[in-house]
């Protein structure tokens, strides 16, 4: 049984409306992304002081932490969109979920690579199988698995359902990533920004970090809009190809007539 979608959801379910609104929003998101990223880079590389223990290597934080936050956020968006597509058959939700996966995978790779580059001088190793690093690697495999399902199954409806179920099941990994540093002994440092007791990071480092995170978020919106627009147009191309093939099939004479 398909549940009735809420009125507001239904309003934005129209791909034509999405194309119109997103085309208007795209340049603003692009400008805001560049502005935040440039300001964040300036503050992070020139204004923020070096860490008293980690020295200048702590500047890796300004790309590592926003990338890791975004990797988690994008997975959340993908799971919500997948659930919306499964329950309400929202025509855009499927496309949003599908578009989120490669972006999320890319930011997970950024988080892993920059984390590794930060780990080597601080821990003396590029990689360690501790809870935080391993759970983030599992997040990358979830993204890759989601993308592989879409590629592997030819029937779009089956692929969409299978990928959506995987995305929803994978949500269990998000709290594991967040709390892994509290639940287990890890080499990775505990949370210092998002804490119930308040942030323990100094404002001279917190503000560049938050500004970079805002830039990354805007960048995500830009790439998401481009990818969803591409998916909508690809659907139209597929439909036209299907119509062309059926039309040419109907108009061509039957094969036995020539024999």
């Amino acid at each position: 049984m398909i549940m009735r979608s809420p009125k507001t959801l239904h309003r934005f379910a129209n791909p034509a409306r999405f194309m119109r609104l997103s085309s208007r929003a795209l340049p603003w998101c692009l400008v805001m992304s560049f502005a935040f990223l440039l300001a964040g880079l300036y503050l992070g590389l020139f204004v923020a002081p070096p860490d008293y223990q980690q020295g200048e290597s702590a500047r890796i934080m300004f790309v590592h932490v926003p990338a890791a936050w975004l990797a988690l956020l994008i997975y959340g968006v993908m799971a919500v969109a997948s659930a919306t597509a499964l329950v309400w058959r929202h025509p855009l939700a499927d496309l949003i979920a599908k578009s989120c996966a490669p972006i999320g995978a890319a930011f997970t790779i950024v988080a892993l690579v920059t984390g590794s580059l930060w780990g080597k001088p601080m821990w003396g190793t590029w990689w360690v199988w501790d809870a935080r690093l391993t759970s983030v690697l599992i997040l990358l495999f979830l993204y890759l698995g989601y993308m592989a399902l879409w590629q592997a199954l030819e029937n779009r409806e089956t692929a969409s359902k299978a990928a959506a179920i995987l995305a929803i099941i994978g949500v269990i990994n998000l709290p594991i990533i967040k709390f892994s540093v509290d639940w287990w002994n890890t080499l990775h440092q505990p949370s210092s920004v998002v804490k119930l007791s308040g942030s323990t990071i100094h404002s001279s480092m917190l503000w560049p970090l938050l500004i970079m995170a805002a830039g990354f978020l805007m960048f995500f919106f830009v790439v998401l809009i481009l990818k969803v627009q591409r998916e909508i147009i690809a659907s139209k191309v597929r439909a036209n190809q299907y119509l062309s093939s059926t039309h040419s099939h109907e108009s061509s004479p039957p094969a036995d007539r020539d024999e």
């Binding site: 790309v63 890319a106 580059l117 001088p121 029937n155 779009r156 790439v223 990818k227 191309v237 119509l243």
Partner: protein, 73 residues
């Protein structure tokens, strides 16, 4: 700002071999994401333009997708 202070800054307190590759990897992946997405969007737009003025609503597309799924089954 003289050359020495620029070199000291680039050295990043001896961590330049880690800090700059981290920023480089991040920038490379972000540039690839946006450029590849834009090129793919343009390619699809060009493909759609080949079909000319024939209009197809996305509601129709989902019907067609459903019909394809039905045929496959």
């Amino acid at each position: 700002m003289d050359l020495d202070s620029i070199l000291i800054y680039i050295d990043m307190g001896g961590f330049s071999a880690y800090v700059w590759p981290a920023y480089g990897a991040c920038a490379g992946i972000m540039i690839w994401l946006i450029v590849a997405s834009y090129i793919r969007l343009l390619r699809e737009k060009r493909m759609l333009a080949k079909f000319g003025s024939r209009r197809t609503s996305v509601e129709k597309v989902s019907d067609i997708d459903r019909a394809e799924a039905h045929d496959d089954a």
